[in-house]
Every structure is written in C-alpha cells, then in structure tokens.
C-alpha cells in the first residue's frame, strides 16, 4: 500500500506491506536507525517517536496508522553540533551507559516536559518514564537529566 508521512520535516511517499510497522519503516526504509527496537513487545520504549505531537511506541503502530502523520525521530531533534537541550542534559548528567534506551528515553522525556503542567518533580519524571526501560538500570542520572533539561527547554 502507498503511504505518505512527514518524517523530521521531510515528506516521504512509500510503498509498504499492509502489515508493516512504523518502527521498521523508519529504520529499514528511511535508514533512521536511531529509533531502536528493543523488546518488540511494546514494553521497553526504545522505539518511542513523536507522532502528531504525542510520544508513541513505533513498534506498536502500523505504518498505515501513520499515513498522513507527522513523525519526529531522535534524528530530527538535534545534531552533534547543536544538541537538543534534552540531549545536552543527558550528556552533561551521564544519563546513558550503553545508550540503547537513550533515543526512546529522550523522545519520551521531551514529550513529558512539553506537556507538563508546571514544574516536574522527581516523582513526575519517574511516573512519566514508566514505559521506558534502561537495562543498565541507570535511572538516577536519567531522572536528573530530565529535571535539568526542563529548565533549559523553557529558556531555549
């Protein structure tokens, strides 16, 4: 089937199988391998991207459901010379060890901060990242990074 999606601001028209998953389209058709597939059972959150302004697990979205949508992946938020404030905060706070969960953590955290009603505290961040697993168990620094980034994102 034919789908058209806007990924990181670029319009893409693709012919994909009816049972294609958004995660696979991003990775295999568009080469955006920053979106990771960890558990492939909608639990770990490594595949989180933004679809029409909401953080979603792209391994549990059919490509057809994303037809017409605007998708932002980890590649779309910053680059090595100009990191997104959330990426900078992860680097600053040593919020990654192996790095596998990091793209999903960052995409979830950005959505969490953008939708926050006021200042997030540690509990809010831990609740908000419930759907993202870090198997290095480096949660403390991830939470620190998100708390630090919320101020940077507001002033950015």
């Amino acid at each position: 089937m034919e789908i058209s999606i806007t990924v990181n601001g670029r319009s893409e028209a693709l012919d994909v199988p009816d049972n294609a998953l958004l995660a696979d389209v991003l990775r295999e058709r568009l080469g955006l391998t920053g979106t990771h597939v960890g558990c492939d059972t909608s639990q770990c959150g490594a595949c989180v991207v933004h679809m029409d302004g909401a953080a979603v697990k792209s391994c549990t979205v059919l490509a057809g459901q994303a037809n017409g949508a605007e998708v932002t992946t980890i590649e779309g938020i910053g680059n090595p010379d100009n990191l997104h404030p959330m990426q900078a905060a992860f680097r600053e706070n040593h919020a990654l060890q192996c790095g596998f969960c990091t793209p999903g953590m960052i995409m979830s955290a950005i959505d969490l901060v953008q939708k926050a009603d006021g200042q997030l505290d540690e509990g809010d961040v831990r609740d908000g990242l419930e759907g993202n697993l870090c198997r290095c168990t480096g949660y403390h620094n991830i939470v620190k990074a998100v708390l630090a980034a919320q101020d940077d994102m507001k002033s950015a």
Binding site: T41, A55, T60, L62, G128
Partner: protein
Amino acid sequence: MYQFNYHRPASLDEAASLMAGADDGTYLSGGMTLIPTLKQRLAAPSDVIDLGGIGALSGITDNGNTISVGAMTRHAEVAASNAIPALADLAGQIGDAHVRNRGTIGGSIANSDPAADYPAAVVALDSTIHTTERSIAGGDFFQGLFETALDEGEIITSVEFTKPTSAAYAKFPNPASRYAVVGVFVARCGDATCVGVTGAGPCAFRWSELEAELAKSFSASAVANAALDHSEFNADIHASAEFRGNLVRVMAERAVASLT
C-alpha cells in the same frame, strides 16, 4: 505477523461494509492489544479495518448530567479531562504514557480483558454503550472472558457516563504491565452506591453485597461485612484467587476511605 489487508475507512458505513466483505476481519482502534497479538501470531485476520480515520468517533462531550466519550478517544485525553475526576484518574493509571497516547476507550471495553481498567467504571457508573446498531446498558455489556454483548461487525461509537455525586478508583497494578491485578471503582449516585470490580473475575462485575453494606453505612469498615466468593476468581502467576479476593477488599476499602 501474518499477512493481512489493511483498510482505513473514513466512515462507519464504509467500515461496516469492509467488515461484511472480509473473510475474517477485525476492527483496529488504538491497537495496544491487537497489534502485539498480531505480532505474536496469536491472531490471523484476513483484514484489519482501522477505525482511526473516522474523526466523528473521537472526543469528549459534556451533556450536563452525563458525558459522552467517543469510542476512539485516547486514554490520555480522558486522563486530562475533568468532568468525572475519578474516570480521569482511572484513565491516567492505564499502562504507560505511550499506551495512553494510543489506546482508546472503545478498544479497551470491546476487548473485555479481565485486567483492563475501564470496565470497572463502566459497570459502576450508570453508563450506556452506544453502537452502530443500538444502545447497551453498561451493566449488560461484559459477558465473560474477552466476551461482550457486541454482535459481529457492530462498532462502539461512544460511551455515555452519568456523572456520579462522587467516585474513586483504587487499583493494585501489576508492577511490570501495569494492568490491574485488581481494581475497584466506587461511585456514589445520590443515596445509592455502586461498586465495580475488575481484574478479579473473568470480566468486570458489580459487588452487590458491598453495595448493600455501604447503603447501611458508608465507611471503609463496611467492607469487612460484605460477603465475597473468590472461588471462581482468576488465578495466575501474578496472584492466586485467594490473594485477588483479599485485594478486592483492600482496594474497596481504599476507594471508600478516599470518599469519606
């Protein structure tokens, strides 16, 4: 996943005719259960009919005494609403943030998962399930494990809830999946109190014995006086039937205590 034909109709009529023409079709709403099921090859529909393109199915309307929640309304939207605070609180406890951004009320109740949250509210609140064919009372909707009153091809369009005087939901979540091991929704509607239980039985049910006790005395201590037969409760690696029976009492006490 097995192969299937994907469709995204723009209207309910188109959806129904696609279903009628399919060998073995299935409707897709948020996909938070169906897509993992397809990925595990536990289902092999010939056609997946996505209801996500039918805009009229989404949104919350405040009608004064009732609210109508469109079947495709995402959990996150209900969680952010304020017409029935206990319902918003329940929606905010479903799964994780990403699940709440995709999962829908219609998909949740149509599935009648014994551990889903919404069914507790559907049976406890005075509610009506509106479909393409008819209106079904919330108390008649859940009929068993993954079984509802829906007929083949019938589509839920909205769920209408009467606003309670006050209500509360107390849940013991599975720490990994965040499904309800047990969840209890207590709703006070004038003088009457209704208690909905999810997670414990094959599907959500009313705990009428507790309702009778709460009518005499609305207090957490009334829970101890209410009979509860746990012999047919669910038993799995997460909790025995006996443990679920105890959790129903504890969650009921918490919900009632929060309203007193």
